[in-house]
Subunit: 335 residues, 2 copies
DNA sequence: TCGAATTCTGCAAACCTTTGTAGATTAAAG
DNA sequence: CTTTAATCTACAAAGGTTTGCAGAATTCGA
């Protein structure tokens, strides 16, 4: 049991706890010789500062929370990993909570963190969470907020999101450059801002290349593998020679359909996904994908949170660029 | 700023803080009507218990730490995810730390957690950590320890590991049943207990089937994809018709070599990996693999930690069974 | 109706650190 | 040798909760 306190040190040296506290805290008003003696004795007795007591005095923990839908999704775990590195260096501990896409769990997590008196919260909200009201309520008492990836508007604090428009734009442009002529799109519900932005990027790239938009080859229910398979069939039927997909799994579905039908990829059919999941480099043919750079999202979100807590900003909106990773599934000789 | 305290509630009701505290804590000695009034007033004033203060009084945080090499490795993030669910239900927060396989970071993490006065630590040690000495030192003061996956012997507390012997045994048996006759093994350094156990399981399965062990088709440097490719070549050269691998990535390498050479999988060459990485179900042919059930490891580790903290045990050694996931890469008609 | 048992509540200390204020000591200046 | 300034240290309160002990109120049996 370690229970050496500054009182023990003070007693051993015949001085008071306040002096010991100041000596340890680096207060310049304490004599050098005293400071040395204190440090010496502290080490000798195996003193360990009681963080809880010092937190109580200051009213705030040296911890921050991160709330994500699912920890084990590679996108989120990469963000967490990067954020942890930044926060650890700054002397903050990271408390982790997951919502399983569920509003109730999100509220629970917010309450827990606010109860612990964390200095701030990094949040990517659950699908089941339809407005930011409960978040607004939970972040009283000076708790700072950084939203990343999935963002509600109208909340205080900072945000970090991907530049989805440009990601989709450069993806589509990549397909055009490779000589594909009739490029279909896989996307999700356009009510979600992220999907909308990607769709806009896709449209803009077509427009800039003088290719008319054909809404019959835009598939707005393509976020899972099965639908990718089905919509891949439809796309081929409608004469597409390439697909830009908002996700890797739906792109994989289309790839599987093509292989099943003996359609050659990339020669006759180009496929490009989004997220750069691990498997994209491991399957055959390997799949071109848009890397979202989750580590950078995590780093920026953590740094933004530190700035909020230090009072260096009242809120900022950061974007993280995406990176095109070209692979075999679009690697055909220029048209 | 929420700064309603039990003192405010007490004052508003004309009673004392101690009664309020007891009422809120569910102490049976407080009158039902008083308790109701307290709860009512607490809600009315928006009271939020100051966890820091209560921790200071009790000397212990309602938090536990988890230390892993890398958060974003799917095996570990699944463990973390499952552990979080158990701990959250029990009212504990989970603080996350990563070592990046580095001893220095591991020591830092241990010190941080011990400084925060967590109730316990779940740990899978870094490769760079060669003995448990620094762990021993850090877990003074009643902090409980659960080691999982990578375990040092001789430390207090509990452990949770896979049943590697049986996993390898049933994997090898699966290959034998499918009619493969000459089964090679991919493994890592046998100084690591985990690899040793798997190797023993492989040997036992051969022995039970009356197949003599041939050390020339045991490849002890096969944990990465590249070596899997190279050793896949050697194995085929030596007449193997199947490979049991301690990892999925090296198995993938062998699979790629077979495909490059036109060797048919599973007809002429069976391949079986370990870890059941995402990609194993996504590649073609899909790969049979040993699932390690990381979620179960996480669940058991968290439960074991709770039992330690509640004083229900002084230490236990749990194993998690593995599960064979049969897929195309070994799916040939019985020889 | 009285005493004892039971149920309930208050007092005050304890958890350990930080910090404003005031007092003490030393050094420098007159 | 005294005054002023500069440097250092002590005192005590504050931060909010929990809990052992004692005392008050209530209930019950006799």
């Amino acid at each position: 049991m370690t229970k050496v306190t500054i009182i023990d040190i003070a007693r051993a040296l015949g001085i008071t706890p306040s002096t010991v506290s100041r000596a340890l805290a680096g207060n310049p008003y304490v004599k050098e010789s005293t400071r040395e003696a204190v440090k010496q004795k502290a080490k000798e007795l195996g003193y360990e500062r009681n963080v809880i007591a010092s937190n109580l005095r200051s009213g705030r923990t040296h911890a921050v929370g991160i709330i994500v839908p699912r920890i084990h999704r590679s996108f989120f775990s990469s963000i967490i990993s990067a954020a942890e590195e930044v926060l650890d260096k700054a002397g903050y501990s990271l408390i982790i909570c997951q919502t399983r896409e569920n509003l109730q769990d999100e509220i629970r997590a917010l309450n827990t963190l606010s109860g612990i008196r964390v200095g701030g919260i990094m949040l990517s909200h659950a699908i089941g969470s339809k407005s930011g009201k409960h978040i607004q309520e939970a972040i009283h008492g000076g708790i700072k907020l950084v939203q990343f990836d999935r963002v509600f508007e109208g909340l205080p604090g900072s945000t970090v999101t991907n530049d989805d428009f440009n990601g989709a734009y450069s993806a589509t442009k990549h397909l055009i450059k490779r000589g594909y002529k009739r490029i279909g799109a896989f996307t999700g519900p356009l009510s979600t801002k992220m999907f909308l932005n990607r769709y806009e990027g896709y449209k803009k790239a077509l427009e800039d290349a003088g290719i008319p938009l054909d809404e019959t080859i835009v598939f707005k229910d393509s976020i899972i593998r099965e639908n990718g398979y089905l919509n891949g069939a439809k796309a081929l039927e409608k004469g597409c020679d390439a697909i830009y997909s908002s996700g890797d799994y739906s792109a994989l579905g289309a790839l599987e359909f093509a292989k099943d039908q003996g359609v050659r990829v990339p020669e006759d059919f180009g496929i490009l996904g989004t997220a750069n999941e691990d498997f994209t480099s491991l399957i055959s043919p390997s799949m071109t994908s848009i890397e979202q750079n989750p580590r950078e999202i995590g780093t920026k979100a953590a740094q933004a949170l530190l700035r909020l807590m230090y009072g260096e900003t009242a809120g900022e909106h950061l974007t993280v660029e995406t990176t095109l990773i070209p692979r075999e599934s679009t690697d055909r000789k220029n048209g």
